[in-house]
Amino acid sequence: MLVKRILLAAAMALVVPAALHAQTQTIDGISNMRRAALSPIYAGNEVKGYVMFTRGDKADRKNDNYLLDLYDQDLTKVSSITIQKPAGYTLLKNTFNGSAFAFYFANGKDQTLEIETYDTSLKKLGSKVIGDLSGGDKRMLAAQAMSADPAGNGMMGMNLIPVPGLGFVRNGYTGAMAKGYTLAIYDDKLNMHWRITSDEKSKQYESLSITEAADKYLLGMMMRRDGLMSHKFNFSMVALDAKTGKKLLDMPVETSPTEQLSLSSFTFDPSTREFVAVGEYYKLDDKPMVNKSQGFFVKRFSEAGKVVSAKNYGWHNEVAALMPAEAKASQEDNYVNFNHAVVKGADGRMYIVAEQFKIVGDGLGIAMKALGGGTSVSKGKIANLLVFELDPQAKLSNVKFFPKTVTNAEIPPGAGLMGSSLLGMIMKAQGDFDYQFLQKDDANTQFNVVYLNFDKEKGEAAKGYIGGIGFGNSGKYTTDKIELNAGPTYSYLYPAKPGYVMVTDYYKKKKQLGMKLLKMNI
């Protein structure tokens, strides 16, 4: 060949030159692929890359080689980090705080946790082993390992939250039964700066879930109950000073004489310098998260914790009045809503994304039970998506209904007796809902909801599609559907840069993993 570049030698018609820089990756020699092996890296709201965690060959008598392969948002391989760790390591979470990457591992063999941090050039900054795990920590880790998305930010579980400019916050549980909580913040080099623990003398069970670092605050939701098995929950909104760990706000979501409230989301709005709480309200005699809710509420508080505004929207009143005609049948069919996400746009409008579900008797399950089988007599049904839009004054201004094919989900034996809200949370943890994630741009002007419509009960044999719903500052709602092709043994769906989703196709026979960025028309 004459030229300096390594170019296409033959069969040009079969090879596309542009693929040299295409938004795809193909990796050979992958003997198995789990969803959790790959996770997106966020910088602020946006996906800026991916990390793939794989186990390689043996490094020495005690250790295996593990690879952290890093890709940018366009799937261009950036670099690889090889680490030597004992067998049984899992990556719980990867996170980026603007100046450092942190990889949070669980060492199953030694029952320890470990954090490693790297700067943006992937030079190692620090490493920390956390060995003093409580019984509660271990329980949570075990539950997390069985979750559909161990790296997901559920209410429970071991998490590592990025705090821009400060480092990373790690949560933990105290006692053998996770009676209390701990929080610790580490800088980029993993020096601990503060640690707080719940009051050991407290009679109540307390779990604090930090949801985000916003402005100068660490925001979270505190769930308190009298005992481990208690179904009576009390919710508080918690704000900590990110620099010191000092609790600045720990305020119960007030229950009025006519209803009681549960909390779905607690955020800080820097434009108005107000805290915003969104959740559902229940009849006074009902049990939040057990009985069916009456509607949802939006409460705004000043930084001092004073209520600025509070509004309730009943499913059968305000919401029903704005509900499109096509949605009414499902509302009347006893479906209840599960709130997946609450976001606020740069223009002040707020969006609540919910999905309908209900529990029904399972004929086959009942028959199996009668024959002595251990299956559930109930099953979950997942129906349509809804977006509730509130104007900047928090007035419900629009309800959008997005019909989907109803799909079925298996629920654990006995779960049918739990009550709809708690069951919704279980189904969420099991990955039963179609809703997958919500993507937003850094400017908070465009939001995309991505869902996956396929029958979880039928599993891999089911036919499905990826659905997308776009909304934001333009005021328009757009939708898109991506049909999935046959071929791969497994496919997994991941968040991607704004306007895209990332799909991986794993081919077991070829031991090949394909990654591709799909642009959504929303």
Binding site: L2, V3, K4, A10, D57, L70, E483, K497, L517, L518
Partner: protein, 491 residues
Amino acid sequence: MRLLFLLAVLASVLATPALAQQAPYLPFYSADTVRVHEMAVAHRAAVQKYLVTPKSVSGEYRDHYKRIAQEAADDVYNTVRYSALVDPVLNPYVQRVFGQIRQANPQLAAVQLVLSRNPEPNAHAVGNSIVMLNIGLLSRLENESQLAYVLCHELAHIQCAHMERGLHAQLTRIHSKELRKEFKRIVADEYNISSKLKELALGLSLNSNFHHRQYEKQADSLGYALLKRTSFDTRQAYRALQLLDKIDQPLSAEPLALGQYFGCANFPYPLPEAPAKPKSIFTVAAPTKTVLETTDTLKSHPDCAKRMRYLSELAQGQIADGPTAPTPEFARIVALSRLEAVQSWFDYDCYDHALYEALQLLHDEPQNAYLRSVVTLSLYELREHLLKHDFYEVVGNVSKHHPDNFNQLLTTLTAWKADDYKGLVACFAQNAPVAPAADEYAQAAAYAAAKLAAEPRATALQQQYQAQYRDGRFAKLLFPKPAASGKKSIR
């Protein structure tokens, strides 16, 4: 009367070439693939005949050799079958130059030249009988002598049996006792097998690249000797290498005036501000080169600067160091090659490249109806792929290896939405109206524009195209038969 008739015939004969010269060139297309199939079969047979499995080697070596020989033969078949350009203008031209070289060098074996529609600027030799010249390289040369040197260089590879020697050298190394022993040792060693095997493979690759660089030097040297025996200007050999050194540079480095092409009063350009280039959060630096690493250690070819120095020594300083104005005949060859290259990008579904190259050429030829058709058709196909959600297959990523203005186009293509395309195509037609043409390209583009605008006449235009060009270049692309689709679940 008879005299008048003869005069009339003579006048028409004389007038025909003049008319042909004035008629706009359209890329070559023939639905009849018999000729290229026969060529492909013959070339495959020639490679099979050439790469005879050696006898006095191990069984593994033989099997490996057979596999490579079969792959090489299949590759040649595919390349010729799907990319050979057997047009009536460019192919005869390059064959004439090739014939002159062979005539001046009668000692050369019977080698055939295949002009390929591959738009990448490259050429290569296969076995002992084929030189492949890409249209993408022809379009970047300045004169016939540079073309002659390129062909001489490839003939030199054949004369030196570089393909076979390279293959034997590599297989001898791979199947050597030392390497097998090393391989067994690594596999038996329980730990870090993967990284040790990678190191071994890297060593093999570096060794192979070293030999390839030696072959290139030989081909430069012998190629120059072959050129000297011809009547071509030997000083242009140096200039050819100089052009190759800058081959990655675009025709024009100026930013593309996308807003001017694709925005108008009815449909304001959808991106009034240029979309920001995607920024990476990673700041990983390129690996630092060791003292031992030269600039071309990891390349299969020596750096052009090295080759130019070497050639300058060979030519004893008799070199053309700088651009030369092409003759009108060669300028036309270059111009037509560029159009063929644009069409090739399009045919290979590289609509980003097709659009980019067409826009670059439109800058100097804004009324070129063919280029305008390619722009419209590229936009149509880009939108189709957006709707089919396989946009990633036809549009590449921004890369530091691309020219800035190509990255500008890629960033823009990524930002345009499916709904924008109707306005983009409408404005493009409105901003520089051209006289309607009746050729296949214009008709296909007219259909694409009408379909994008959801105009009822799209159906009539489709019927018109299909009636006139039943097996036309765009028939399958624009009007595919619906395929049965299978689906799979995702988790």
